[in-house]
């Protein structure tokens, strides 16, 4: 499953969230991640995320897609970080 994850956290928690997401997905922009992951990995990620978040104030939004193919990605201006396998 291909996922785009965005979050909006209070200043105190934003660093923790960043570190957590980096373990599972590719960072593409501030508070925005994307990448391929399995159901289980997503569950793990959300479980961890809920422990960090203050659900009264923070929000986390997920866009899920069956396959990367169905996603058209357009970049205007600078691509901050590419997500390919070749470095």
């Amino acid at each position: 499953m291909y996922v785009i994850l965005v979050y909006d956290m209070g200043q105190k928690r934003v660093g923790k969230m960043l570190k957590l997401c980096r373990r599972y997905l590719n960072w593409i922009q501030n508070s925005v991640f994307e990448g391929e992951m399995t159901e289980v990995q997503l569950k793990e990620l959300l479980h961890e995320a809920k422990r960090i978040m203050n659900e009264e104030e923070d929000s986390l939004i997920l866009f899920k897609n069956r396959d990367q193919r169905w996603l058209e990605k357009q970049i205007v201006g600078q691509e901050r970080q590419s997500t390919d396998n070749f470095l």
């Binding site: 980096r22 373990r23 590719n26 391929e36 992951m37 396998n85």
Partner: protein, 343 residues
């Protein structure tokens, strides 16, 4: 979905916040912007450039079960960092050794590997034979002759009584096969006989490089099964090498590597200017190497509809299924039948 990562750029890999941080370094030693690789999505690391790393990183990679494969300046496979075996299975190990020790059981499996390889070679040859036949001005019968020779050799596989004899047949099949390469891509490159260590010309360099990629792909797949990579059946299990990977790679080389080579050459994605001929050897230039690895990676991701399983599986997964079939054979559950391409 774990994906392999290929590192061409020189740089430093480190453990940061329980994930991987890669800082590229340019020729002047200046550091670029770091990139974080999500640890949960990393399958293997293939290191073609120069990599700085410390033991903390390797401890972390070991803990996460990620292998690192190293290649030297001349694109040779130098070795792998393999994490501690995590799928130990004594019964499997014992059965695998037993099959190796009993000559009858061993040749049974070895024959299957040769059969699988020969069938896949035939598949490639027939495809190109069909192509040349459709161009009317071509009266070259090299491919047709080769097909007949390989078929004849394949038929003699069951008569081989020991492994060296089988290796002989296998060698003849490969020889016939390599002799047709000139007919397939002769316009741009010529093979002029297979040469290794070091490869003498462009096409030889490509074959060696491709085979090595296939070999490492098989090795890391074997690592994720319970098979022991050092006990092989067709190749003699020597010291200091993972010879089971060679056995399994044998079956997949024609469809994964050779077809890719032909395709990339015929589409002019690889040209003579992509190579650097040095004294007595030939190496691919950086950009071409990257393109080729990219092509190989795409090839592995390509899916086909599996006839028995009835669902789409990727070529990479086919290698894993091959390992499972071998396991079943060794445990006496089901007889091993090699993978044969049917398209």
């Amino acid at each position: 979905m774990k994906q392999p990562k290929y590192l061409f750029n020189a740089g430093r890999m480190s453990r940061k916040d329980n994930t991987l941080k890669f800082t590229p370094v340019d020729e002047d030693g200046k550091e670029g912007t770091p990139r974080y690789l999500p640890i949960e999505q990393v399958g293997d690391l293939y290191v073609f450039g120069s990599l700085d790393a410390n033991s903390a990183l390797y401890n972390f990679l070991g803990q996460e079960g990620i292998a690192v494969h190293f290649f030297n300046y001349y694109e040779h496979y130098t070795g792998s960092f393999m994490p501690r075996e995590y799928l130990l299975a004594g019964k499997m190990q014992v059965d695998q050794t037993k099959h190796y020790l009993a000559p009858k059981k061993r040749i049974e499996i070895a024959r299957r590997f040769v059969e699988g390889a020969a069938n896949n070679i035939l598949r490639v040859l027939k495809y190109y034979e069909n192509r040349t036949r459709s161009t009317p001005d071509c009266v070259d019968s090299t491919l047709l002759d080769a097909i007949l020779t390989v078929e004849r050799l394949l038929a003699s596989v069951p008569t081989a009584t020991d492994v060296p004899m089988l290796m002989g047949i296998e060698g003849n099949i490969r020889q016939t096969y390599y002799d047709t390469f000139d007919a397939i891509v002769g316009a741009t490159f010529c093979l002029d006989g297979r040469s290794k260590r070091p490869p003498r010309n462009e096409l030889n360099a490509l074959i060696s490089f491709g085979n090595m990629l296939c070999y490492t792909a098989c090795l890391s797949t074997i690592y994720h099964t319970q098979l022991n990579p050092t006990i092989s059946f067709l190749h003699e299990p020597g010291a200091r090498r993972y010879s089971l990977a060679l056995d399994i790679a044998e079956v997949f080389k024609p469809i994964l590597v050779d077809r890719l080579i032909f395709r990339m050459i015929n589409k002019r994605q690889l040209q003579p200017s992509d190579f650097r001929v040095e004294i007595g050897s030939c190496v691919m230039k950086e950009a071409a190497r990257k393109r080729f690895v990219q092509g190989f990676d795409e090839q592995l991701k390509e899916t086909i509809k599996h006839r028995v399983l009835g669902r789409s599986v990727s070529y990479r997964h086919l290698i894993k299924l091959e390992c499972y079939k071998l396991q079943k054979h060794l445990l006496g559950v089901e007889e091993y039948r090699p993978f044969k391409a049917w398209w």
